[in-house]
Amino acid sequence: MDVVVVQCLIEALPMAISTSVSYDGRLLIATTSQSLLKYALSDSPSFDIRLADSRKDFAKKNVESMAVASGFLLAVDGGVVASFSLDSLTLREYIPATKGASLLAVCPAESREASENSLVAIVVKKRILIYSISLDGSMRCVKELATPERAHILVWLNANTIACAHPKRGYFTVALDSNSTTDLFKFNNSLFSAATGASAKIGIAILPKGQLLLTRNNSGVFVNSDGSPLIERDLEWSGPPDSITYSSPYVMALIAGAVEVRSLTTGGVVQRIDFPGALSMSVGGESLIHIASSNCIWRLLPVSFEDQIEHLIASNQFNEAQRLIEELEFSSEDEKVLFGWISSLHVFQTKKKIERGQISNIIRVRGLYAHHMFTVERKYEEAISLLSELRASPIDIVNLFPQFSLLGPSSDPPVTDKTALATLKDYLLSQRQILSKLRRLHQRPNNLPWNQIPPPSTSPLTGTTAATIAAVSSLFSGSDHGVPDSIPIPENMIANADDALFLSSVVDTTLLKVYLLVNEGLVGSLVRVENFCDIQEAENALKQSRKYRELIDFYYGKGLHRKALENLDEPDAIMQYLHRLNIVAHVDLFLEFSEPIFNRNVEEGLNIFTERYEDVPLKTHLRIIDFFERKSAQLETRYLEYLIGNLDSERPEFHDRIVLLYLQRLVEQLTRSESPVDATESVEMLFVDAEAEASSSDFLLLRKKLVLFLENSKFYRPERLISLFPDDVLLEEKVVVLGRLKMHRESLFICIEKLANFNLAKRYCEMHYDPKDPTSSHIFVDLLSLLLGPRTPTTSAAQKDQIIPMSDIIQYLIRYGTFMHGTAALSMLPDSLPLACLVPFMEKTLQTGQFSSRSGMLAVNLAKMEHMHIQDALIQSQSALVTLDEEKLCARCSKRIGNSVFACYSEKLLVHVFCMSK
């Protein structure tokens, strides 16, 4: 994999390069012919390099080492350090005290305070001279350090420490303040013992965290800056490096004309680039690695890490990709530990250090890895558990299965592996639980500090919100109840309510499809409990698998009753379904879909409407009546009978309507039969309370029903109904209604003149007689006058013959005489009547008269007695004696009675008359 690409800066220079230095978009080259070339580089808009300046003979001898500090160029010119102005490239001074110098190194700017002068370390034999360079370029020796050997390599670790290497002695550090030397690694140590000698190639690379990589020939060891070895790692190069350096996150070595890039963690070779004739490698401007041969200079541009990661992913090297990210972003061990927790909520408590982008990067890589595991390696369980550990969206997991994918139809074959489907099923079930908690969470915004939780992507989490999330998740997990397997809500799922619903729909719909494949027995359970299955999809899936019962249950759960009913054709099934519905809410469906039930069995049809537990409002009743009215009068009657008989409805409309329906049916039957069914002897039975005989005709039964209803119902409106009754038939019924209207004369007229039914008339009078009501107090006399009066011309021929015999009239007089006004009755009697017949009547009337006058007298005398008793008591009370003195107080106002007018209660309580009246 390419982690760096090569950019050629100088190619085929006609002079030989001795040394070079680059800084701030400039490149200075010293040639063996003592010339100095200054190039200007620019990277934007596109890379460009041009010669900006040059000096011939700028040095006296060959320049071996150059460095830039504080706007000055320092060069070791023939063993003496010289300084030049960077701008003009003119010589400022030679520093004679540095005679014998072999190497110089400027203390990196990041290691010192900005206000301080730059420091440069110059190796002069077995000494290191530290010079300070002031802004005007004047150099002053501030320190002289002694070293055990002449340093061949010198690097600043920090402003106080310099690390050196000597091919025989080994590696050591020198402290500026104490001028003391500490061995990092001495070559009489075993590790390097195999290859000792002056020709050994040595190198030092500074790694993060104060660690160092020390190389000698092929071998490399890692040490802390105090020299303590990090034994768990070491590094073997393919050859002895001429130079090594660290460029995050790799170490690079120049080995025999090639650059080798190695991973710091694995030590493996990441990239190798040939640079024919390359002699040196150094970190230059923009912290880029520069490579120089005798006539070329290249620099290494790091491939953007994202591109590197992409590359690794493309070649399925997921672990490498993940490691790269880890190497890149987290050099500290603590932070690496965090990655173990990446999937847990704890990460948010310490997460401040981590950039969100880096986390998502890792998640993405691991996600892709899981994807690879799933699709290529077919490690289904591992892949799904990795993804759920990463809190991947359920959508991602569902999409792993082309047959369930939300991305639409795919050419990939469906995943039918049993384990894969079982794993998916378990995963979806657990998501169902999480989502149901989530939905409840959204449903009760008042109970929870919901608004305190910021959307995860917008603001960094503070300690409080992390605590809130923890609280929220513990609230909904069973963990604090001692229940196993608590399910905290993943932080990235605490999205908005709509998302929760959408995810619920994805999860449930997929679960349904999975069940259809792996465990059909559970499909019913899923559609019956609260579920968020997509209606269209569930419908299709269930129909395809011919799960019609489940389809109906699904519709029921979703409240799609019309659809359910449309899919039912069996009367029994429709009946069962309707029985489960609330008739108030769904009366339309009842009316629309009950047809097949009625067609099969009218009773069953009616039952649907009458066997209800709910309180059905009038509106619904009216709808149903209207429906039955159009269907059949018989059904309407049956329903009204249910309303009035079973539900005790007192609506006058219902009562009127049922009377009308009964009447209509009777009239209809009358007109249908040739001879009127009206048999007089059976008419008597109409008014008998006993159950109708089994032999009675339907017609008669109905009449009895109507009469019974008219007599018992208090809610029909007789004034409206009376006009509906025919004039010549069903007169018995009409009489009942007339009675209700107190139209007694008309009633009795019908009884006597039209029906010639004396018994009926008598019964009528008994029922309606009321001495206190002026209209009803004289009905017995009215009847008498009818009996005795002239026959009207309307009387039919048949009835004319049936003149009521006088003996019956006299019986009547005797029986009911007491309810008649005696003189009025007497005056009506025909003169021809023998007086003897009237004796029993007179006796009875007189007895009654006497009885009432005696009872009257008794009452008067009793009242007088009582009056006297009361007067006596009054006198007693008034004669009571009350003594008044200064202490007597009014019982009301508690003031003295004194001379005021007072009243006395029987218990000898005294009050002011004034107070009493209050």
Binding site: K425, D426, L429, S430, R432, Q433, S436, K437, R440, F476, S477, G478, H481, G482, V483, P484, D485, S486, I487, N519, G521, L522, G524, S525, L526, R528, V529
Partner: protein, 189 residues
């Protein structure tokens, strides 16, 4: 979780889960069965809790582990793992509370979803209509109605119980253990 398998020498363990609306008497039934105790005081169960009891069924020694759950919290608080490996599920309702009976359907369905038995139609359930000791006038669910439901759901055994007066409690749990054991035997074959 339950000591399945021929190689397990220990006595077999049956995991039983009791479900039903809050207040129907799940905890009371378990207490009556295991501890022979009853209290009129109501203390809602939180989460879940279990008691064990050793029983002898058809000459076989079996440990029943009876899990009592909270009627108030529904399923969400208990994970799938909790229901997995259940050998029997006891559904309880209060015969004096029609709503608790109506809920049986959803308790059963939710249980099946979570436990995911291989053969849901033949999973051993037992239905208990509890609190039959109260006056007949308070009764809202007839024996007929309950039996019809049990019949329709695949011949689930039905018992009318009283945790208070220890009516049918032993019998119900005994039947439940037997059915669960039979089921296990079927699975092993």
């Amino acid at each position: 979780m339950s000591g399945r398998g021929a190689n397990s020498r220990r006595r077999p363990m049956l995991k039983v889960i009791i479900l039903g609306d809050s207040g129907v008497g799940k905890t009371s039934l378990m207490n009556q069965y295991v501890n022979r105790k009853f209290t009129n005081q109501y203390k809602a169960t939180i989460g879940a809790d279990f008691l064990t009891k050793d029983v002898e069924i058809d000459g076989k020694n079996v440990t029943t582990q009876i899990w009592d759950t909270a009627g108030q919290e529904r399923f969400q608080s208990l994970g799938v793992a909790f229901y997995r490996g259940a050998d029997c599920c006891v559904l309880v309702f209060d015969v004096n509370n029609s709503k608790s009976f109506d809920q049986l359907d959803s308790w059963r369905d939710e249980f099946l979803l979570q436990a995911s038995p291989r053969d849901p139609d033949n999973f051993p359930f037992v239905v208990l209509g509890n609190k039959v000791d109260l006056e007949e006038s308070r009764r809202q669910v007839s024996q007929k109605r309950a039996l019809a439901w049990c019949q329709q759901k695949g011949k689930i055994p039905y018992f009318e119980t009283s945790a208070k007066e220890a009516i049918n409690v032993d019998m119900a749990f005994q039947t439940m253990a037997k059915n669960a054991l039979d089921q296990e035997a079927d699975v092993e074959l």
